[in-house]
Symmetry: C2
Subunit: 133 residues, 2 copies
Amino acid sequence: MSLRATPYNALVTAPTTQSADVCEVACVHPEAVVLAKSALPDERCATEATNFLKLLGDTTRLKILSALQTTELCVCDLASVVGISESAVSHQLRLLRTGRLVAFRKEGRVVYYRLADEHVTTLIRSALEHARE
Amino acid sequence: MSLRATPYNALVTAPTTQSADVCEVACVHPEAVVLAKSALPDERCATEATNFLKLLGDTTRLKILSALQTTELCVCDLASVVGISESAVSHQLRLLRTGRLVAFRKEGRVVYYRLADEHVTTLIRSALEHARE
DNA sequence: TTAACACATGAGAAGTTATTCAGGTATAGT
DNA sequence: ACTATACCTGAATAACTTCTCATGTGTTAA
């Protein structure tokens, strides 16, 4: 996960010149293509959404987030719960903070992290449900 | 995305020897740690869930899946809709097939892909909703 | 049979990611 | 002031991902 919002394939994707004829490239079902194309989320939303999903799509981060579903925890605690180094946790927390998936409060030298969003809980629950079936 | 189910950090993660004292490593809030630890999803579920979320966490795949929410489409169509090469689409479809996010039917030499699962639609909708707010 | 088409796949290149390690900063206690 | 603690961060490295290009497979049409 990069901290910048620029996705890998933003540079690679063909420049979609929205001319009159949508189906310039060879395609089999023009009407279906037009329909599907109009249903695509706009670029910004798609990027935001994938950045969000990317953050959930990592075992370490999913564990961190799962742990935070029960209670707020400090970095030390999280390292202990997840079973990795504090440094690794800290790096991941930075990504989660940047993506606004977690919030935190400082108390002296201890930093308590918590989930920032209901969506996180919902999505994790859905994904786990899907995984179990 | 690898096709194998072995995650990157399965080999790196410290071996959690589940001895009597859960908090062997230094940690600040033992009770919170125990609580959070018991709430962690088991390893297999966490892996499956993250594999699923990983598949959603890519702009190209999200576009493919979004397109398939409207109607079934062949590889050609998808390439046209998303704006990338057929080969790239095909590679991504393989991952989505392996992860059982899409299903397909063959008709002559054309292969029609469709979403395999309600969860996919739900999750995409949630993620986009989160992205927009 | 031959050619064209729709799709799949392997190899390789270029980019991205997650960890460790070696330092940092800020706060609390002595 | 000095030390320990809790946390953060940059650099480096190994692993992973996603594309392109070349090629292979199966099906239809001439």
